[in-house]
C-alpha cells in the first residue's frame, strides 16, 4: 500500500470535543475504485472522521491529501467541489420538495440567463434518467415525503452520483433497509466501483462488509485499531479489533436469578397498539431480574413501544401489568410514579436538559423529594449528585458542570442516575450506548446487569448486534410494528436476529 499514491489520504487526523477525544491520530487511505469499509463501534470516531472529510467540522491537526496534494476542506461545498460526497446516516433529504429538487439541490439546471429560472424540463428529464439507472421505479416528480426510507436513501445516492463524485461516503446506508433492498444497494455499490468511484462504506452489518469490502479499516475509541485486507476479513477478526478485547470481558455471564424464577411475567404488555403502527399489536413479558433485548431495523417501531410504555406517546389500546397490577399511564409522570423509567435514545434532546448542570439534571424528575414546602434544597441536590457521581462513576469536575460539556458516556450515566434515585421496577434503555466509548460502554453494561440482578425488569432496545446478543437474556425481534419472534440464549445468532428483523416469519 505504500508503493503508490492513494487517491485519498487522511493522515494523523485528530479532533477533540468537550470532554472527549473523538479522533486521535487516525489515518485512512482510499484508492481509486476501492471499497473501503470503515468499521468500529458507536463512538469509535467513524462519523467524526467522515464529517471532517465532508467539511462539516474542522480537524484539530493532521493532513488530508488527494492524489498526494495537501488540501483543505472547509465546507461541504468545498468537499463537493473535490468530488467527495457524503450520504448521511440521518437522511438529509428535504421532504417538502420532490425527488428531482432534492437530487439537484444547489445544482439546478437553469435557463433565462441572469434570471436563473429553473429549467424544469431538463431537471426532471435528468432526474428520471438517474432514477432509472439506480433501478428506482418512480417519477422524479414524486414528493419525497411519500417515499419509503429505502427509496429516500436511494435518492441521496442518486444525488451523490449526479455530482460526478469520485469518492462517496455511505454512513450506515442499510440500517433501515430490508434484505432485498440491502442486496440492491450492494449491487449499486459494486456498479459504482466498476465505474472507478471509490466508496467508504460505514456499517455495523459485518456480513455486508465481508461481502463487499476490498479492505476494512477498524477504529476504536478514536484511534486506528487495525486494518484487514480482503482475504483477512472475517467476522471474528473484525469484532476482536472493534472491541479490543474479548466480548466475554464486556458482558458478564448472566445466571438465572431467583427473581426470574419466582416472577416470570412480572412486567407484562398485552396487545399494545402504538400510534406509529395502529394496525399491529405487540405483546411480551419480562421476568423480574431479566434483560429482554429488542432488536430490529431502524423504523421497526421499537422506540415507539418504549415511548408508549413511558407515557410519552398515547397507547391506542392494550394493557400493561406490573406484578399483576394493571398500570394506566398517559404521561411520563404516571410511568415514573409506577416505577417504569425510560433512558431515551436521543440523550441530548430527550434524556437531559443539556444546558442544566449535572445536579439539576439528576434531581429534575424527583425534585419534590429535594424540597421542603416546594422550596428546593440545593444542598440536598448537591449531596445526591455527588453520591450518584461516585457510585456510578460519573466523570465531572463538579456537580455544577453543564451536562452539554460531558462526554456521551457520562451524560448517559447522568440520565441513569436520575432513575436510580428512585426504586426502579422497570427500566427501558433505548440504544443505551450510542456514541459512547468502549470503556464507558462496559460500565453501562455492568450497570444494566446489576439492575437486573437487583430485581429490576430491564428492556434494552439496540441496533448493535454485538450489544443485543451480549447483554440480553432473551431477545424479541421486531419488524414493521410487530414482534416477529423471540430468541432464547441458546438460539442467539446474528443470522437468527436478521432473519426475524427483515420480516421472515419466525
Amino acid at each position: 500500500m505504500t508503493d503508490h499514491t492513494p487517491l485519498l489520504e487522511l493522515r494523523n487526523v485528530s479532533k477533540r470535543f468537550p470532554g472527549v477525544i473523538a479522533l486521535n491520530d487516525v489515518t485512512l487511505t482510499v484508492d481509486t475504485g476501492e471499497i473501503v469499509a470503515l468499521i468500529g463501534e458507536n463512538g469509535a470516531g467513524k462519523s467524526t472522521l467522515m464529517k471532517i472529510l465532508g467539511g462539516a467540522i474542522a480537524r484539530d491537526s493532521g493532513a488530508i491529501k488527494i492524489n498526494g496534494q495537501d488540501i483543505e476542506i472547509k465546507s461541504p461545498r468545498e468537499a463537493s467541489a473535490l468530488g467527495i460526497e457524503l450520504i448521511h446516516q440521518e437522511l438529509s433529504v428535504l421532504d417538502n420538495l420532490d425527488v428531482a429538487a432534492n437530487i439537484f439541490l444547489r445544482r439546478e439546471p437553469t435557463k433565462g440567463g441572469l434570471l436563473k429560472l429553473i429549467d424544469r424540463r431538463r431537471l426532471y428529464f435528468e432526474a428520471d434518467a438517474l432514477l432509472k439507472k439506480l433501478g428506482l421505479d418512480l417519477s422524479s416528480r414524486t414528493p419525497v415525503s411519500r417515499l419509503s426510507i429505502a427509496q429516500q436513501q436511494l435518492v441521496e445516492i442518486a444525488r451523490a452520483i449526479s455530482t460526478g463524485a469520485r469518492i462517496i461516503v455511505m454512513d450506515e446506508p442499510t440500517s433501515s433497509l430490508s434484505l432485498t433492498e440491502t442486496q440492491r444497494l450492494l449491487e449499486i455499490v459494486r456498479d459504482l466501483k466498476a465505474q472507478q468511484v471509490s466508496i467508504i462504506y460505514i456499517s455495523h452489518r459485518l456480513h455486508e462488509v465481508v461481502e463487499i469490502a476490498d479492505r476494512a479499516v477498524v477504529l476504536r475509541d478514536g484511534r486506528n485499531a487495525g486494518e484487514l485486507q480482503r482475504s483477512e476479513i472475517t467476522r471474528d477478526r473484525m469484532v476482536r479489533m472493534m472491541v479490543g478485547r474479548d466480548l466475554k470481558e464486556l458482558f458478564k455471564e448472566s445466571e438465572q436469578t431467583t427473581f426470574q424464577k419466582e416472577n416470570p411475567n412480572w412486567f407484562e404488555v398485552k396487545n399494545l397498539r402504538t400510534q406509529r403502527y395502529p394496525n399491529q399489536t405487540v405483546s411480551f413479558s419480562v421476568a423480574r431480574g431479566e434483560v429482554l433485548g429488542i432488536a430490529g431495523l431502524v423504523g421497526a417501531g421499537r422506540s415507539e413501544v418504549a415511548k408508549t410504555l413511558f407515557g410519552v406517546d398515547q397507547a391506542l389500546s392494550g394493557t400493561v401489568t406490573l406484578n399483576k397490577h394493571e398500570l394506566h399511564f398517559s404521561t411520563p409522570r404516571d410511568a415514573i410514579d409506577d416505577g417504569v423509567y425510560l433512558v431515551p435514545e436521543d440523550r441530548r434532546n430527550c434524556g437531559l436538559v443539556v444546558d442544566f448542570n449535572v445536579r439539576e439534571n439528576i434531581s429534575l424528575p424527583n425534585l419534590e423529594s429535594y424540597s421542603t414546602a416546594k422550596i428546593i434544597s440545593t444542598a440536598k441536590e448537591t449531596a445526591a449528585a455527588i453520591t450518584a457521581s461516585k457510585s456510578i462513576n460519573i466523570k465531572t469536575p463538579s456537580p455544577e458542570m453543564r451536562a452539554a460539556n460531558l462526554s456521551g458516556g457520562n451524560q448517559q450515566k447522568v440520565v441513569l442516575a436520575r432513575w436510580l434515585s428512585f426504586a426502579p421496577k422497570v427500566i427501558i434503555f433505548d440504544e443505551p450506548t450510542r456514541g459512547i466509548d468502549v470503556g464507558a460502554k462496559a460500565e453501562i453494561y455492568e450497570l444494566i446487569r446489576k439492575l437486573a440482578t437487583d430485581g429490576v425488569s430491564v428492556i434494552v432496545i439496540s441496533s448493535e448486534m454485538e450489544e443485543v446478543l451480549g447483554i440480553s437474556d432473551r431477545i424479541a425481534v421486531m419488524h414493521e410494528g410487530r414482534i416477529t419472534g423471540f430468541l432464547d440464549r441458546s438460539h442467539f445468532s446474528e443470522e437468527a436476529v436478521m432473519h426475524l428483523a427483515t420480516g421472515a416469519a419466525g
Binding site: P18, I21, R333, A335, G351, V353, I376, A440
Partner: protein, 331 residues
Amino acid sequence: MKKELGIFILLVVLCIVVAAINPNFLLTINLQNLGRQIGAFGIFSIGLGLVIITGGIELSVGSMMALLGVLLSMMLTEWGLGVVPSVLLCILVATLLSLVHGLLITRLNMQPFIVTLCGLLFYRGLARFITKDETKGFGTVAGLDFLRYVANGNLFGIPMPFVLLILIAIIAWVVLHRSVYGRYLFATGRNPEAARYAGINTKGIVTAAYVLSGVLTAISGIIIAFYTNSVSPANHGNAYELYGIAAAVLGGCSLRGGEGSIVGVLIGTALLQVLRNLVNLLGIPSSLDFAVMGAVILIGVMADQILSDRRNRRQVALMRESTKNESPATN
C-alpha cells in the same frame, strides 16, 4: 448574579452620566417619579419575563391594560360596584383571558406570538367598543383613596408602586429561583421534550406562566390607570408589552426560552425608565425617545451575548482540562 452585573454597571454608569450633566436627576421629585414608573412597569415586566422563560411571548399586555382600565372605571363610576369587587373582577378577567392564551398555546399547539397578537388586537377593539371610544376617568367617586394612594402615594418617601414591585419581586424571586415550579419553568423553557421525559407537566407549567403574567398585568394596570387617572381606550398602554419584553431581554431573558432572572428584569426595567427620564432631562428631542431606547437595548443585548459566549468557552476549556488527565481512550 454575575450575569446581571454587566447590565447593572450600564445602569449605574448611565445614572452617573445623567446626574453629572443635569443634577436635576437627583431631585427627590424626579427620583420619586422615576421610582413610581419603575414600579408600575416592573410588575408586569416580571410577568413577561416568566412567559419569555417558557420560550413564549405575550403581546397583549398593553391592550389588556386598556381593557382592564376602562372596565375598572366603568365598574366604579357607572355600575356602582365597590372597590374590592371591582379590583377582584379586574384580576379575575385578566386571569381568565391569560388562561385562554395559555390553553390555546399548550392544548392546541398554537404559536404564542399569534395567540397574543390576536389578543392585542381583540382587547383594544373591545375596550374601544364598550366605551364607544370615550376616555374614561374615575371622577369624584368616593372610596378610591386607597387605590389612589397605591398609585400616587409614598411610604416613607418611597413611591408605593415601587414598594409593591419590591414585594412582588421578592415573591417572584423565590418562586423562580428557589422553588420547584421555577426549576420546572426553566427546564420546560430550555427543552420542553426533555422536561416531559423527566415527568414534568409542561403544559401546566407554561399555562401557569401566562396566568401569572395576566395577574401581574392586572395589578400594574390598576396602578397605571390611577396614575394616569384617565383611560383613553385607543391609546392607554400602547406598546407597553414592548417595554416589558425589552426589560426582560435586557435583563438576560432569552427569547429562545429557559434563561432569565427576576433581578435582571428589575434592572432592565429600571434601565428603560432611566432612559426615558434621560431623554427628558438632557433635552433630547422626545421624537428620538424610541431611537435611544432601541440603540441601548441593542448594545446591552450584544454585550451580554459576547460575555455569555466567553463564559461558555471557559467552561468548555475547564472540561477539557479535566479530561486531559484521564483520557477516555484507555488502551
